[in-house]
């Protein structure tokens, strides 16, 4: 303990942060705080409450994340379906090279290369910071790269499997156009595992955003978390982590519900299970 702090100041600080009470009292108080989104106060930014930081940072991260999801889900599905339809031909190989690259290039490398070529060399878009829509384009692209690659691989492998099913053969035998078979019969079944991936992908996009927000100097929740980690600002670290975890749980839960609503087989299995 620093000797320049007088005992009175120390005592005031202790009672301000509730550190003079026994551990279990502190713990119960902390747990009670969760119910009202009260995670205590930052230890570095002169008593700013944690929920204030979350309320400031989350809309920024959420906008970035939603833009990235809106970009990556359709493009991943289209790329994957296309690759499956052109299986083992050059289109398939090309699409899989692109998606393997998307999985293999770390997001901070994608982000910095975009910054270097698009912003610094070509002067097309702003290098960093937050403000207009044009500021969000590069971070959105960097954030969308990984989920796009993942979704396209997942869609491709499911689609390849579905296209070998008997009902697809029946549809072929009826002479339906390939496009219709792929969209109406194939995609509907191939997309089920993709839907269950969209829950965790939300989390992936949020964890990815630590790095992206750092590279582009965006004042989002991820940047706050990194700052608080480097400052060892525990109330902020805990508050943001719990916020993220709840978000993750909710999104996985919603994806599970959507899954069982869309797939009658799961509902049937569930009912069988209950009867046993």
């Amino acid at each position: 303990m620093d000797e320049r702090i007088t005992p009175e100041v120390l005592k005031t600080l202790y009672s301000y942060y509730g550190l003079d009470q026994p551990l279990w009292v502190q713990y119960i108080k902390y747990l009670k705080g969760f119910l009202t989104m009260d995670f205590g106060r930052s230890m570095i930014y002169s008593g700013r409450p944690v929920y204030q930081l979350i309320a400031d940072g989350f809309p920024v991260s959420a906008r970035l994340g939603l833009q990235a999801l809106c970009l990556s889900i359709p493009s991943g599905i289209i790329l994957g379906t296309w690759a499956a339809l052109k299986r083992s031909r050059w289109q398939d190989n090309a699409a899989m090279v692109v998606s393997t690259l998307g999985v293999s290039v770390p997001n901070f490398v994608v982000a910095s290369l975009l910054q270097y070529f698009v912003a610094l060399q070509l002067h097309l878009l702003p290098v960093a910071r937050w403000g207009s829509f044009s500021h969000t384009i590069l971070p959105t692209l960097a954030l969308a790269a990984l989920p796009t690659a993942f979704i396209s691989r997942l869609t491709r492998s499911n689609m390849v499997e579905v296209l070998q099913q008997d009902y697809i053969r029946t549809a072929m035998a009826k002479g339906l156009p390939l496009f219709r078979i792929a969209i109406v019969h194939g995609l509907r079944n191939a997309l089920l595992p993709v839907i269950s991936y969209i829950g965790p992908v939300t989390a992936q996009i949020l964890t990815g955003s630590f790095v992206i927000e750092r590279v582009f100097a965006i004042p989002g929740l991820g940047e706050w978390l990194v700052i608080s980690i480097n400052n060892r600002d525990y109330p902020v670290i805990l508050g943001i982590t719990i916020f993220y975890s709840s978000l993750l749980l909710i999104s996985i839960f919603l994806a599970d519900i959507a899954y069982s609503l869309l797939d009658p087989r799961i509902r049937a299995a569930h009912r069988r299970h209950q009867h046993e």
Binding site: T100, V109, S112, V211, S245
Partner: protein
Amino acid sequence: MNDTPSECPNFTYLQDAWIRFNKNRIALICLYILIFICLMAITVPMVSQYSYSAIHLELKNQPPSWKFWFGTDDLGRDIFCRVWWGARVSLMIGFIAALIDAVIGVVWGATAAYFGDWIDEIMMRISDILYTIPLLLTVILLTVFMGSGLKTILISLAINGWINMGRITRAQILQIKQSDYITAAKAVGASTGRIIFRHLIPNALGPILATATLTIPSAIFTEAFLSFLGLGLQAPLASWGIMINDGISAMEFYPWRLFFPSALITLTMLSFNLIGNALRDALDPRLRS
């Protein structure tokens, strides 16, 4: 290849897989690239005349030249030398993490699946709980106790990195457990350990190997990601994450400081991913001709 039941099935299976792996040109090239990267990571730090940490301010930010192949950074350190020190760190983390994950995951998953019932239930719930612990939180907490560094990263990776492997092994074993030859082995009185280690695990080897290979790039990425955020290795140690973080701040004037570590980490992760995918295809018995 036509194998007769009298031959050792393990041998022909792996041989068959190796033949199919060899047919995959891209995966073979990746294998050569990785061998090259490993050799460079071993030899360059040993023979290089430069050190990864010695500071020469009069030589700072030199562009790539015959003297400094990849240029120098803001403290005059040779980037060529530092990049291969970083490769040592990354490869070591990748291989150790994959090994730890494979050992814990396979033993855990196999035990849970073999005994089934309530043992399976309890073991899988334990791993579900571990799975919810966010990696960043483990890293932060461990950093408080042990300081940041290699050991901290490895332990945090080990805490829940094996769970994916455990689930895959369990799913495989559950499937194989119902085969007739397992029943036969039980009938002739083979011990539990023998059935698990001689029959179940070797036959589940394909997905296990593929998953282990794919663990390596994700561990490499995690180290770079943590070092990039300042939570991993600390200066003056060289790591690709640290070098990329340094490079980003200087990319407008000294782009080589960003370019070389980025290119190497991408190449390494790409190679491991492609090899992992090729292995998964080659080891998949359903695709066997």
